[in-house]
Symmetry: C2
Subunit: 191 residues, 2 copies
DNA sequence: TTGGAATTGTTGCTTTTCGAACAGTTATCG
DNA sequence: CGATAACTGTTCGAAAAGCAACAATTCCAA
């Protein structure tokens, strides 16, 4: 099972080159030849690993989606519990090596490969089931409140991923204020 | 020629890993297995490229020595002419990609592989022939003055290589003052 | 000093990658 | 529109890298 080191290396090189070019030239006008030239591999090798550039993008999006999927439960619970500082620390810890890659992939929006949309969808589902479980008495539609919570959380994630481990103090406060407003809606409290 | 991309890549990986380990563990206690593990290559591949770790070091020292050898004439002339700013700019320009590698190799002193000693030897030879050509009337031994000039120039080079493209203004002045003192000795002027 | 562990070079065999060609498909531009 | 350039996806033999095993040092601590 332990793969041949060469496969690991070429996939690493191809993916690194892909991300770099994605950042500069964008996805649409990127050719397989471009990627291979930058990765110092041959095209035939590329096709031994991926069907085409779409497959490469798919696999990478799936990869980072899976990583986030394995953390999303904890992340959501921390959000609800208001443990914003800890949530941010954990997120940055988990994503440390992948931060740059995720930041780049977040800007790519292809029909069946949209990392940002995947993250958002996972969070939205969490919010929906959470709100339903609360049996809110609010007049506002459940879907709206779920969308609100998701948006707030996604905005924070994007901010952290692009800005890295900068000062977190003010951020936590700001997020917390908005978070409480959303949760108040869920509880059904009228102002 | 060594045209196959794979050769280029493995040598690049091996040399990068080697430099990195050289910086952390030093040369003596470094094993071929260490290098290969860090470079993600196999030992048999290593031995297909190098005789042993000494050969690897030799080749790298020879490589950077050759680069410096191709610049040393211009570099020395700029030193004599007092074009310190230009000299520094040119040096950093030429060495931009190799700065880190040279800085690391400068700390390695093996019997037949000493980059720092090679640099110094080249400069010393330039100073010696220069001074002889001037037919100095100074009472001081030629070898002493040559050693002085070489030391001053080497010190500057080491400073630039370790400190990079930081402010150059004050450096040029300081070097120039010392340079003039040395040249005054060459001219034989008694204070 | 000695015995086990680690390191060295070397080897045979397998797997992967390379490079160059190929026909077929899409852009690009005058 | 037409052509010609670029890109795709595939194939092939040759070259390189990987891997595991080996005996032969060398290291190092008991």
């Amino acid at each position: 099972m332990g793969q041949d080191v060469r496969k690991i290396k070429t996939e690493r090189d191809i993916q690194a080159a892909f991300l770099s070019l994605l950042d500069t030239k964008g996805f649409r006008h990127l050719t397989v030849a471009d990627i291979c030239q930058s990765a110092l591999t041959s095209r035939s090798t590329f096709y031994a690993h991926y069907l085409d550039k779409y497959d490469l993008l798919d696999q990478m999006v799936a990869h980072y989606s899976a990583i986030f999927a394995s953390r999303v439960d904890l992340h959501f619970e921390q959000m609800i519990a208001g443990e914003i500082d800890q949530m941010i620390t954990d997120l940055l810890g988990d994503m440390a090596e992948n931060r740059q890659a995720i930041a780049i992939l977040f800007k790519v929006h292809e029909p069946n490969a949209d990392l940002q949309a995947n993250f958002r969808a996972m969070l939205l589902k969490k919010w929906q089931t959470f709100i339903v479980a609360q049996q809110p008495k609010t007049a506002a539609p459940i879907e709206l409140i779920a969308a609100m919570g998701t948006t707030v959380q996604m905005t924070l994630i994007e901010w952290e991923i692009t800005h890295g481990e900068t000062s977190v103090a003010g951020v936590a406060d700001a997020v917390n204020t908005i978070r409480e407003a959303v949760l108040m809606q869920v509880a059904g409290d009228e102002k």
